[in-house]
Structure formats: structure tokens, C-alpha cells
Symmetry: C3
Subunit: 322 residues, 3 copies
């Protein structure tokens, strides 16, 4: 589904940010480097730069979200953009307008960037393939397909702690099958030449032909976590419990919950990540989530810098940014 | 209901914008001319002027709206205003406060402009007749009475394409009876000396004594559309279907839907307008809506410039604006 | 519950604003004096100062509110802050995240100030005791415990009209038992050395051991209102009617409603206050609410200046503000 040409201008600059898949190592590294420069902005007392002054960013959230929506909004504010937040469910959709008509109407309002979260896979690509030149689309999560800014803030967090991806061993644990986060992380880790990408899950929570994604598959957590540098836990969508995909919360925790015992099998300096919101006691033990190896809250903080980076790269003019 | 004195300062400047009715050709032309200057603002890369800096605009939407609400918000942002958006249904109304008390409390917050959409005809006038000197009210649609900024953005769109109103023939098609948009358009077109204003609708969708509004009435679309310069389609509120006002969607489309066939009866360079959101296949054929005579999305764009114009004229000081 | 150390930095500056209880007369007077300086900001044409530029204020309203939420938002805007407004009910709480996790995630977004309204008493203290250094919490009403900015805007209104608190007689009338507003007012009035603080209510609407709060208790309104300088009416929560706490609205009005007759028993220049929204005809006669002794709408206006004052004091740096 990812079309590199759709995401890039002819000169190779980023136009949309729809999926990690299809982007080069260079682009991903540029995002991480640019984000690095923005962490100093968000650390300082006056967290504001004029990069998007006079530009309008529209947040279109068709699915509920706190942290992604809030960090996109803060990123846009800190870049000095004007922001239009639309709760689509309660607005024009009520009047039966099609998605494409909604998009064209918003576009006619001279919106510069759309941040879109939608329950259907491919919706961000759909939007991007229909907007005018000069308008950009940022995917804030589409169905089970992709969540590229989440993956990039995860990469940023890993690089901050481990400096490089070569030689690293990273395990992603949980419901890989339904997770757009996992899908984007796997692409990003591979593009950045991560030593080894492991997925750990029961067979019912793995996509078909999972190996073709460039991962090593483990069904046993104790085996899969051994000597890894990074453990990424996924949120267990409790609604997957029904449908017999899973035995019980208690049994899930026993087999796939990250406990203080289990983390000892990883490298001593392994970091623990989670895209949030976490289910304490289901996929992760409470003490582990709050423990010293956990970098979960740092992920949230870095999320703002990474989203600022993507927005500013998209807003940059040809020839001015190398 | 329109009281010109209520809308104007003693020196003739605009104080409120409640209805087109009762305003002079000069004021309407000033709005169009001022909007013209703002289209250059919204076209440029940094879409921001400091005209309303330090002023507060409160958006009070008692009825759902996407495009009107969003364009008012963008207009206020691009004028650098502070914006307070209140969803009235979920707030103080819950506690049983009267509308007038709500207004007075908001006024006590030193709001400079109220943008009000309300299901009751006359509500904007009611608000305007109770606010203090220095506070202004903009009607964003009240019941079946008026929607003056919509009418003015329609006038702006017509003038852009046809240069002048004299000699033009304009047809408004659909549910005239329940449409605040149609009512405001008819007043605006007549004030601006439009050659001929036609309304085309079944008898059940026409207000009583319609002719007194200064229009020519047609029940037959093919007859009414003949040789017009502008066709304005209205949205069919599907809930009107019930109550036996209308036969069926299919039959409505056959009689009052704008098709590619039908548009050939108008002048070859006729433009097609719609306030949105349109029901494709009910009042307008999909291909016509997206066709080259359609200026429907331009209306949305011009809506921002027109709302900026009205807000800036209202905010202007005596003696400074001629 | 109020812990003065939690609210103050070691050097005595305000860090959080959780409750009036436990703060010194000096601090309360500083808030009133600082608010005085901000009334000139909000009176002038451009109502904007750069004190919170580049800072982020998050509004977390777990309970519905119009005037408190709007005035906090306007106060933050007029101090040039970035604002993140979260409707908690519709966001992460849906996903089952605990309050503390929500707080830590928001904190990771580098929020500088949290404005919190919550139905549970003690929630603001709970948040304040868990945030990092450099992050502040403002209580916008917690359960039946406290509503300190409301109390301070009431104090501001009283001082504006009566110049000083010494020698004044102030009566608070209505549902004292369930009112966080009354509780905060009583503390503030006593800290500021008000001559006499009276509460007037039926026994069922008084907290136990009410006298220990430093008030004189009256059950008879005519007796309690005699010769007071200030009458503060409380909103009657109609849901208290059930449970046999109260006879009927009509009977309540007869015994505890403020009428034009009754106000004659107070001092001739007595002012009438109400935190809003008022129930006309239940706790206050409509003509009294709109009469010349009423300062109810001034309270709303002063609320912005008082909230600006508290926010700016909290944002001030050590050594720069005396």
C-alpha cells in the first residue's frame, strides 16, 4: 500500500507522512536528527519557534485518542501553527457527507496539513492521493495498517539510549496481528538496519507469513526475550479476548506479561517501551512499568519533538533544507 | 425583524451583522470589497494579519455545523483573535441557565464578538439587542430566518465570476420555504440590483406570498433555469420528506435535481453554486457538482475572506475606515 | 487536607493553588493586588500580555463547567499561554487508564500548569503531590472540598466595593454543607480578618460542627441578614431536594430566597453576590439578581483577572517577584 512517490516530492523531500514503509534510511535518519534539535526547544522555558506561523494544521480524529492527538496539537502549537480541531463524528458526517467531500471542503479552507486518524486501513493514503499540491497529510494511525509517527518516536527513544541500531536486538511482544504500531516499528527497525527484530506472540496474534516482514518469530516469551537490548510491549485490546483468540487475562499475563522476573532474561541494560495506554497487570507488571528500565514516559515526551520534526520537514521549502 | 439601526452605529458603520435585510447597497459592496483584499491574505504563505490581536471572539454554536464553524474560527485566527469555542449543549444549559443569563455571563468575560448559530429565528437579534456597547453579534444562522455571511460569500462568488449584478439572472432552486440561506440570498441579490431573481420549487416548499420578496416563481425547473447566469441549489433537508411535503427522493431528483442535461438550458457560462453539504444524487447530480461550471468549493474558500471582512469592519474604529 | 508546604516553594512563593486553607494573609493579599494590576489589562483594547508565552496550560475538566472553564481559558490566552483542553470523559479514560497514569502521560508532554476540576474531593491535592518539580496544579473545584479561585474572585469583588475586610459582616446563604465554594470563602474571609462571617441555612444543609470553621450560624434568614455588608447566595443543587433534605422549591424560596424585601434588612449599601449559575426564583428573586446592589456579573469579570494573577504568580521566578 505504501507508495514512496506519494510520500515524497520529486526532489526527494518529504511531502506526506503516511507510512514508514517505502522510506529510505536517510529520510528516517533526517527525522531523528531534526527531532533531536527540537528536544532542545521543548526543554527550554519558552517552548516556541515560528516555523509554522500563519500555517493551518487540521486535526481530523475519526477515532478517540488522547496522547497522539494532544502531542500533535502541542507540536503544532510549539511550531506556532494555527490549529483547527474537528471532531468528525459530531459534525458534517451527521449530515451524510462523504469522506471525500469533507476532505475537499476542508481543503477549500486553505488547510496546509491534515493530521488524520481513522479506523480504516488506507484512509491516510486515500486522503493523500486526493489533496492538491501544497497540501500534506500526516497519518496519525489508520486501521491496522500504520502509525508512522509512533514508530519514529520509538526509534528516537531507542537511539537516545542505544546510540545506533546496528547490532541491537529488539523484541516486540503481544498482539502483532492487529497492531499498526508493531507494523510500523518493524519497518522502521529494518530500514534502520537493526541487528535483529523479534516478535513474540501466540500464533493467534501473529499475522500470516509474518517472517516475510523480516522478523524472527517466538511463541515463548522467555526464549524470545533472552539477551535483547529493547523490549517493546504492545497494548492488549481486551476486545480481542472474545472470539477465542486468547484464553484469559490471567493466562495471558502468565505467558506474555512482562514481569520483573522475565526482564532479567534480557540484557542488564535493556530498555522497556510501550506505546500506551498500558494495561497494568495484563501485558506488563506494574512495578516494571514504573521501574528504572522503563522509558515509557520518555516516549511521550519525545513524541512531541518527533512530530515537530515531521511537520517542519514537510513545511520546508525546496533548496532551503539541503 | 431586521432593524437597520440595530446593525449600524450612528455614523453608519457596521456594529452587528444579523441579516442582509435592511442594509444598504453601499455596506454590502464594502463587505465584498474588503473581502477582496483578504483573499490575498489567505492566498499567501503566512495567512495572518494582526487586526483582531488581543480581541476575543466567542463561537456559540447551539446547532451542529462543520463548515460555517470552521471558517469562522479560521477567519478569527487569521485576524489573530483569541477564540473561545463553547459547545452550549454540554455546558451551562445543562444547569438550567437562561439564554440571556448565559449571554450576560459571557459578556462579563469581556468578549468582543459573539458568533451565534441557533435553531430559533430571531435569536441573533435577541442577543444583539441585549449586549453592551462595544460588543458585537454575528449571525451564523438563526432558525429559518437568516444566514447573512453565507449570502455574502455567495455574492462574492457571483461577483468574482460575473463582475456585476446588474443584468444577471439568478435562480435559487429547492426548499426555499425552510431555508435561511435562500432568504438571505434573495435580500442580498435584490439590494445589489440583480437583474432577475428566480425561485424554483414545488408549491409545498415555497413560503406564502413569496412574490413579495421580489422574486419570480417557477414550479418547473426546465422553464426556470432557462438562460440564467447563476444556479444556486439548496440542500434538501431529508426530514422534510416526511410530512408529505415531498413525494420521494427519486421523484424529487427527477423534478428538481440539477443534471448535466438540465444545465444545458442555462447560459453556457452559467455557474453552479451550493451552500453545502450537498446530497449527491438528490438535489444535484454528482458529475455536475464536480463539473467545470461548479464553483461550490470556491464558495468555501471565499467564506473565510468574507467572514474576515465582516469581523474586521465590525472591529474598525470610527474615522479610521472612511 | 490542605498542606501549606505542598502549595508553597521553600522560599514562600506559590507553587500550586489547591485551597485557600493554609495560606497566609500575605499570599491572599498578593493575589488580590496582582489581580488588581490585571484588571487594567483586561479593560484595555488589546487584552494580552506575554507572561506565559511558550508555556502550556492543560485544562482537565472531569466535570462540566462553562464559566470556570471559559475564564481559566481566557486568563491563559490573555497571558499568551498555549492551551490544551482535554475532555477527559471522552478520551483515555475510555481505555481504562488510571488517573495517575493519565497525569504522568500529560506531564511527559511538558505541560507547565494543570487546571483540574474533578468530582472527587482531594483530587487536586492528589495530582499536586505526584507532579514533578516545575509543574503546577490549580484546583478549579474538587468535589465538596475547595474552589479556591472562586473564593479569591469573591474576595476581590468584596475588596473592590468595601476596600477592606476588617469590620465587615458577610453572610453566606444556602447549601453550605455540599458547597466547595462556601468552604473556600469561609477560609478566605477568616484569613483576611473579616469582622464577622455568618452562614444561613436549614440544619440539613449545614456541615457538622460548622462553628469550628469560624462562623456564626443562623437558621433564620431575616435574623442572619440583619446589617450585613455582603450577602453571598449559593446555588441550590436541585438534586438535593430529593432525599428529604428540603421541603419544596417554593418553601425553600420562602425561607431562604433573597427577595427585595429581605435585602432591606441588610445595610443599605450591601452588595449581593452569587457564584453562578443562579436559579432565579429559587434562591434569588429575579429583580434582586438584576438590581443595583447585585455585583454578580462583576464577579465573572474579576474572575479572569484573579485567575491571571494566580497563574502569573505561579509562573514567576525566584528572586524576581520580591
Amino acid at each position: 500500500m505504501a507508495n514512496p512517490n506519494l510520500q515524497l516530492h520529486d526532489d526527494g523531500r518529504l511531502r506526506h507522512f503516511l507510512s514508514v514503509e517505502g522510506l529510505s534510511k536517510q529520510i528516517l535518519t533526517d527525522i531523528l536528527d531534526t527531532a533531536e534539535s527540537f528536544t532542545s526547544v521543548t526543554d527550554r522555558s519558552i517552548k516556541k519557534v515560528p516555523i509554522l506561523r500563519g500555517k493551518t494544521v487540521a486535526n481530523l480524529f475519526f477515532e478517540a485518542s488522547t496522547r497522539t492527538r494532544a502531542t500533535f496539537e502541542l507540536a503544532a502549537q510549539r511550531l506556532s501553527a494555527d490549529i483547527l480541531s474537528l471532531d468528525i463524528k459530531t459534525s458534517s458526517a451527521v449530515k451524510g457527507e462523504s469522506l471525500l467531500d469533507t476532505l475537499h471542503n476542508l481543503e477549500a479552507m486553505q488547510i496546509d496539513m491534515f493530521v488524520i486518524r481513522h479506523q480504516d486501513s488506507g484512509s491516510a493514503h486515500f486522503f493523500a492521493s486526493h489533496v492538491h499540491p501544497g497540501v500534506s497529510v500526516l497519518n496519525a494511525g489508520d486501521g491496522q495498517h500504520a502509525h508512522p509517527t509512533q514508530a519514529m518516536l520509538d526509534m528516537f527513544t531507542i537511539r537516545r539510549h542505544k546510540q545506533q541500531f546496528e547490532g541491537l536486538s529488539v523484541a516486540i511482544v503481544g498482539d502483532i496481528k492487529h497492531s499498526r504500531v508493531a507494523r510500523s516499528q518493524i519497518h522502521a527497525l529494518n530500514i534502520l538496519n537493526t541487528g535483529q527484530v523479534r516478535v513474540i506472540a501466540p500464533p493467534t496474534l501473529l499475522p500470516e507469513h509474518c517472517e516475510t516482514l523480516g522478523v524472527q518469530v517466538y511463541h515463548d516469551f522467555d526464549e524470545g526475550i533472552r539477551d535483547v537490548d529493547v523490549v517493546i510491549m504492545l497494548r492488549l485490546q481486551k476486545e480481542r479476548m472474545t472470539g477465542a483468540l486468547l484464553p484469559s487475562e490471567k493466562e495471558y499475563f502468565r505467558q506474555y506479561g512482562l514481569t520483573a522476573e522475565r526482564i532479567k532474561l534480557a540484557k542488564p541494560d535493556a530498555i522497556i517501551m510501550h506505546p500506551g495506554p498500558a494495561n497494568r497487570g495484563i501485558e506488563i507488571e506494574s512495578s516494571v512499568m514504573d521501574g528504572k528500565q522503563s522509558v515509557i514516559l520518555q516516549q511521550v515526551t519525545f513524541g512531541i519533538a518527533v512530530r515537530m520534526a515531521v511537520m517542519s520537514m514537510i513545511a520546508s521549502q525546496p533548496g532551503l533544507d539541503g
